[in-house]
Structures are given as C-alpha cells and as structure tokens.
C-alpha cells in the first residue's frame, strides 16, 4: 500500500478563485492510500517544493499527487523535487485542476466537484505506480553513412569534422553519386564537378573517414548507439592497395561493348573501367559479365599489361563487420523508367532522351565532348522540345503521384544553357505548372523566358511522332486553346525522380519505415524531418523525398548534427515509460511486432518454467533503448501480456474507475 501525499496548489488565485481548495484537501484525505493532504499558494515555488520535501520526510510518503497546473508545465519540476526528497520521480502524478478545471468552469461548486474527481483520479493512478528507472546503454563512437553521393559525403564530412569516425558504404565503384553526372547546377550555373570533386577528395583524405565503394550493407542488428553491421565488399578483381590508377588496363581491354552507365548508356565502355576520370577511388573494376577472361577463360590482357600486377581474377568478395552508434541513410534516387509512356517514343526514338542524358551530352567530359548533338545522327539540332512532369503527378499507377520538385528548375537550366551556347536553336518547354520556390529560383526561370527567349507552353504533349527524320511533337497550348505541333530534333523528357531500389531492402534491415513510394519516412514530418522513426537512424538527401542540391546538403548537415549529438554521449538514457511483455502471458503471436513503429519488439525462444515443467516458448522482448512508449503494442496484445510502464492497463482502468465513481 502506498503512502500518498496530496498537495493542492492555489496557483495564487488562478485555481483558488474557482475551486474551493479546502474541500479538495479534505476530500483527498479519505481516498485510499492518502496519508497526508495539504495545500499551498504556489507549489512550484522554492517554498512549495520545500513543503513537499518536508512532508516526504515527516510522513514517509511513497507517492505524491500534485493538484495544480498541466503536467506539461511542471511535471518535470515536481519529479525533480521528489527525486531530491528521495522518492522515485515516477511516483509523482499531476492532477490538472487549472487548465482543465479552474480556468474553464465559472460555477465554483461545479469546478470544485470536478477538481475532486480529477484529484482522486490521480490518487487512484499513484496507488498503482511503481518506481521506474531509466535504462542506459553505451554508444559506439562511429557512424555509418549508406550512400556516397553528395548527401552521404556531406553528412560524413560534417561528422568527421566533429571528430567522430565515419564509414561510407557506396554500392557503385566510385563515390560521387548522381551529382557527379551533372553538368551545371542551378541557379548559379556553376559546374557540378568543380564543386563536388573537391568534397570527394576531402572525404577520401579525411583521417576520420573510411570509404567502402563497390560495397553493400548486408545485415544489420542492434539498436541506437550500438548497431552491428555486415558489409559485403564486392570483388573488383583489381587490388586496390597496389593499383596506381595508370589506366593502361583500360586502354588495352578488348571488350568494348558494355553500355557506359555513367554516360547513361549513350556510349560504350570497356569491361575493365573507371566510371569517370575523377572517380574515387581511382581504381578500375572488372565488369565480370562483360570480361572475356571471365566469360571464356581466355584473354587476361589487362593482367599482362598492368605494371603493378594489381589485376586479380581470383579476388573474392570481402566481408566487413563493424559496430556503429548511428546510421545515416543517403541512398539517393533514380529517374523513372519510361517504358509505360509509349506516346513519347522514348524507347524507339534515339532523339527522345531524358534530362539526365542531356546532362551527359552537355557535359564537356560526356560522350559528345560537350557538344549538343542528336544521338541518332550526331548532327546539331535546330529545335529542342522539353516535356515536363513525365511520370510525375500521375495517379494512374504508371508513374508517381508526387511532384519531383527539381524538374522545373533543371529544365529551365537546360533551356537556358542551350540558348546561350546555341542561340540559333529553338527551345520550347511544355509545362503544367512551373514550380520555382527557392532562393533566386523564380528569377532564374524568368531569365530563361525573358532573356533567353525560351518558349514556355502551358500544356502537355499528347504524342511524339517521327516524321521525315525529325520528331513531330503534338501538344496543347491551353492558354491559346489550341493544339500545337512542333517539329523538333531533340525531345527531352523530365522523367520523375524515384527512390533508389536499395531503399526498400535497407528499410527492412534497419526497421526504418518507407512510404508507398519507397521514400524513407521521417520520424515527424515537421519536427523530426531528418530522423527516421527508428532511433539512431537518420535521413539525408533524396532518399527521404525529392529535393535539389542545396536542400540535400542542408539535410545532410542536419542529419550529421543529429549523429554528432548522439555520438557525443557516452551513455544513452532511455525513457522508462516503455512497454514490457509479461513472458508468462505472451503467446508469441507477433501482433505487437507488426504495429511497433520503431521495430522495438523482437521475438526470442525462451525456456520458461511453467507448472514445474520447462517449456520453450516464443515470446516478445522489447528493446528498452528503442521503445518510445506509444503503447500501440499493448492494445493489439489479446492476452494482455504487453503493458506500458507509467501508463499500464491497470493504472488507466483505475483512473477510469475513479473518474466515473
């Protein structure tokens, strides 16, 4: 049985004016468990807290009820006071008789009666409270960044700069990601490589950063502060430690038929290759599906010419096991495959290209050396038509329902760059809406229209038809209420951004949730935009939703700050008001696991002694470091095995009883 002290606060006249304090004090004296009941003008004051501490000593209180303002206001204050007096802070409950009583009820008798009910409800709860202690767990001072694009690099650099170890895992042979493929960046039109490659070098040279390229995360276990991760380094077939990156092997390689992924398949590469000149690491990789040696067993030319003897056809995948305190997801994006959009003829007409392909064509290091040429015949185009929203804002299931956010700006950029370099080329853009929120963004778009003479047509393209070696683009001009048919030499499609295919698998590994579009879900859309619902897992860049480079970098740094904040702690204290399964009642049905938003519930086979007999049962275990205490699991538990400390079934039912009495 508890020894409960009730302290009724006047809050000056805030409570006392509407509630008869003495009635409440007297009423509480006859409540079960109450051994002391008193009042004071300002309980939250130094003197009020002193009164509480004295009462604890004098009456040997084990539980405390404060009838005062909202717990959101002073719960922490009174818990600390209780702690100072030697009572467990979680033995304190607040009856909210100010915000939810004295401030809203005019009738004194009515307000007093309600204050009594609210107070006795708190007493009923405290009677069932148990002392709780926050759990602690250690923090491994190393972070893992998954994805080596601009998002991952920025997060890694920021974490490393703060003095913590970071590993980057990148599945491609080089870091750099999508940004490395871009030509210029809006709205300043500076060259992407010029601003990205220094960051790549910084990361490669940073003493706190390790980079695992051509590697993938294979298994994750553990929880915030202590994740165990298994990384598979795929065999490059080239010994990275001795390769000097001279490039001889690539020159000599006779297999030349592989599509160059970096150049969006616009040209071919060798079977042994470095994706691009500034790749990091500057170590080639053998594409085993293309390599003649791997296909037929004959050749091996690269090995023969290599001055460092670095080519190793026998190389095996390597497995790296490491522990991390935090994980940053920066898995980036892809552009939507346009197979469902027959009307644009993308698959059939080489001169219908995507914007990312145009980036490579425009890029000085690209397949055309930076000259705008038609892929079909290598001739300069006279007219270029851009089509916006291809696969975005599409609710039919072929594309994506969301706006890809970046297309309006990069299309304006492309249009402007073409008009600048080739003023004789006509450029038209079909758009539904032009969306340019961002610093200097709208000005940029208007410049394309006003200074560069890009023709913006409000309407959509219905069909692209090949005609006499050119492309006839049939569209509508809604402002004019007309159908337009433009002859074009190049049609550029702004295909939708979609989450990288690896996102879904990683979400499962990390129990980070994803939305229906496979973008990672943030812990809170407004207040926790860089945290995933799984503690210790953070989100960086487009993997959370479409965004441009400045936004990506901003989020990457924000995620890094969160990681640094976590790694700076030696121990993590966890909220003790969390779920716990009664192992004797648990039936192992997995329902709690299904609803836990944090993946805090796992199942173990445990030997239990039941009726004097040992039995192995499958039972739920809540990871105290991960559980946030929402209670979703408690309600799906049919046997009532799962309960929430601090808000237990019996506590809430006692509250209901007291409230309805």
């Amino acid at each position: 049985m508890q020894r409960i002290g009730v302290f009724v606060c006047w809050c000056g006249s805030n409570i006392a004016a509407a509630v008869d304090i003495e009635t409440v004090v007297q009423a509480m004296k006859s409540e079960p468990g109450v051994v002391y009941s008193t009042d004071y003008q300002y309980m939250c004051s130094e003197a009020g807290q002193g009164k509480l501490k004295d009462a604890v000593k004098e009456h040997g209180l084990t539980g405390i009820v404060i009838c005062a303002c909202s717990p959101r206001m002073h719960e922490a204050t009174f818990r600390n006071a209780a702690k100072a007096a030697g009572v467990n802070p979680y033995m304190v409950e607040i009856a909210n008789i100010r915000e939810q009583c004295s401030w809203i009820h005019r009738d004194r008798a009515e307000a007093t009666a309600k204050a009594v009910v609210l107070s006795r409800t708190a007493v009923a709860k405290v009677n069932l409270n148990t002392p709780l202690t926050p759990g602690t767990s250690d923090v491994v001072k190393r972070a893992l960044v998954i994805g080596g694009g601009i998002a991952g690099l920025q997060s890694a650099l920021d974490i490393a700069e703060a003095g913590y170890q970071v590993d980057i895992v990148e599945k491609q042979p080089t870091i750099g990601g999508k940004m490395a493929q871009l030509d210029k960046t809006f709205p300043t039109l500076d060259c992407a490589a010029c601003i990205l490659t220094p960051k790549m070098v910084d990361a490669a040279q940073h003493e706190n950063i390790r980079i695992y390229t051509y590697s993938e995360v294979e298994q994750v276990s553990g929880f915030v502060g202590n994740f165990s991760v298994r990384i598979r380094g795929k065999a490059r077939s080239v010994k990275a430690d001795i390769c000097s990156g001279c490039g001889l092997c690539m020159e000599k390689c006779p297999s030349k038929k592989a599509k160059d992924e970096f150049n969006m398949g616009l040209n071919n590469r060798r079977a042994i290759y470095i994706p691009f000149a500034q790749a990091i690491p500057n170590v080639p990789v053998i594409d085993r599906e293309q390599c003649i040696k791997f296909k037929t067993g004959k050749c091996g030319l690269c090995a023969r010419v290599c001055p460092a003897d670095a080519v190793d056809f026998e190389q095996q995948d390597s497995i790296i096991e490491e522990r991390y305190g935090a994980v940053v997801l920066a898995t980036g994006f892809h552009t939507l495959s346009l197979e469902h959009y027959d009307e644009y003829q993308y698959a059939r007409q080489p001169d219908v290209i995507t914007s990312l392909e145009l980036e490579r064509i425009m890029n000085a290091a690209g397949p055309t050396g930076g000259k705008l040429l038609r892929p079909s015949n290598g001739k300069a185009p006279k007219s270029v038509v851009f089509v916006q929203c291809v696969g975005s804002r599409d609710t039919t299931g072929c594309g994506k329902t969301y706006c890809s956010k970046i297309c309006c700006m990069y299309t304006a950029k492309h249009a402007m760059l073409i008009r600048e370099k080739y003023p004789e080329v006509d450029v038209s853009v079909f758009y539904i809406d032009v969306r340019t929120p961002g610093k200097n963004f709208d000005e940029f778009y208007r410049r394309a229209v006003e200074d560069y003479g890009v023709r913006y047509i409000k309407g959509m393209v219905g069909k692209v038809v090949p005609e006499k070696g050119r492309l006839l683009v049939r569209g509508s001009d809604l402002l004019d209420d007309s159908q337009v048919a433009l002859e074009a030499d190049l049609v550029v499609l702004a295909s939708a951004v979609e989450a990288d295919a690896s996102a879904k698998g990683l979400a499962t590994l990390l129990t980070a949730s994803i939305d229906t579009n496979n973008f990672y879900t943030e812990a809170h859309p407004k207040l926790k935009p860089v945290e995933s619902p799984t503690a210790g897992v953070y989100l960086s860049g487009v993997c959370q939703g479409p965004k441009d480079i400045p936004e990506t970098v901003a989020q990457a740094s924000a995620a890094a700050v969160k990681v640094v904040g976590l790694l700076s702690k030696d121990k993590l204290l966890s909220n003790p008001c969390i779920a716990r399964a009664d192992e004797l009642l648990c039936s192992g049905c997995s329902n709690c696991e299904h609803v836990c938003p944090y993946g805090a519930v796992s199942y173990i086979e445990q030997e239990l002694r039941i009726h004097g007999r040992n039995q192995i049962r499958r039972i739920a275990k809540v990871n105290e470091a991960i559980c946030q205490g929402c209670g979703a699991c408690t309600v799906v538990c049919t046997s009532g095995a799962m309960d929430l400390r601090g808000f237990s079934n019996s506590q809430i039912m006692a509250e209901v009883d007291a409230l309805c009495r």
Binding site: T395, M460, V461
Partner: protein, 130 residues
C-alpha cells in the same frame, strides 16, 4: 421536366463515375485529341466546365457529338480523369432527356458514307438505339 443544375452535375458524376476535381489542367487530353480541329470545346475545357457545373452549355454544344470515343484522352490522362467518359455521360444525359430512338438499323445504309469512320457509326448505333 426542369432539371436544376445540381441535379445535372450529380447525374454527370453518377453516370461517368469520374471526378473532374482530380484534373490538374495539364492539357494532355487536348494534346492527344484527334478530333480537336472539329471541336469548339476542347477536351480539357470539357472537364473544366463539368467541374464548374456548366453542364447545360455542354449539353447544347456540338463538340459533344464530335468526340470519336477513341479514348486517347482516357489512355493518356495522368490523373485518371477520363474526359471521354465524361463526354459520354453528358451525351447520355442529352439522349435520356430527349428519349426515344435516334437511329435504327434500317437507316444505317443511307447514312453510310466513306468519310465516316465505321467505328463511329457502330458506336453511334450502339449508343443511340435501344
């Protein structure tokens, strides 16, 4: 019978099952329409007028009868609005209002004209007779 406007809007929605509010005014329907040149109201305007409740005007328009029901707009619409279905609904409303047969099998030979697509005639027969 006098039909008030709300009734017309509801009927159009009921027959077609189309929600014109999902239109994002991209104009892809109009861009795709092979009968555009003959129409005074283009498909996107059609949707927009249904949304605005201007059904009576649509019922009186001649464009209504120019639609070939080729469903290019239905196929291409990224929002699943189905302008052609909507037109069909308004056509039905006109027909139901006027009642009776508008075409019979006997009349078809007379109407046969090389310039009329056969598909149009068949669908007209299907639609305008009972």
């Amino acid at each position: 019978m006098h039909q008030n406007n709300n009734y017309l809007v509801e009927t159009a929605a009921q027959i077609s099952g189309v929600n014109p509010k999902s239109c994002m005014k991209c104009g892809k329907c109009t861009a795709s329409c092979p009968a555009f040149d003959d129409m005074d109201l283009s498909p996107h305007m059609f949707v927009s007028m249904v949304e605005a409740g201007r059904i009576r005007e649509l019922m009186e328009s001649t464009s209504l009868w120019k639609c070939l029901s080729c469903f290019a707009c239905v196929e291409r619409c990224p929002r699943g609005v189905e302008p052609s279905t909507l037109m069909e609904a308004v056509r039905l409303m006109v027909i139901r209002k006027q009642g009776g047969h508008r075409i019979s099998a006997d009349e078809i030979p007379e109407l046969l004209d090389k310039r009329i697509p056969q598909q149009a005639l068949t669908s007209a027969f299907r639609k305008y007779s009972r």
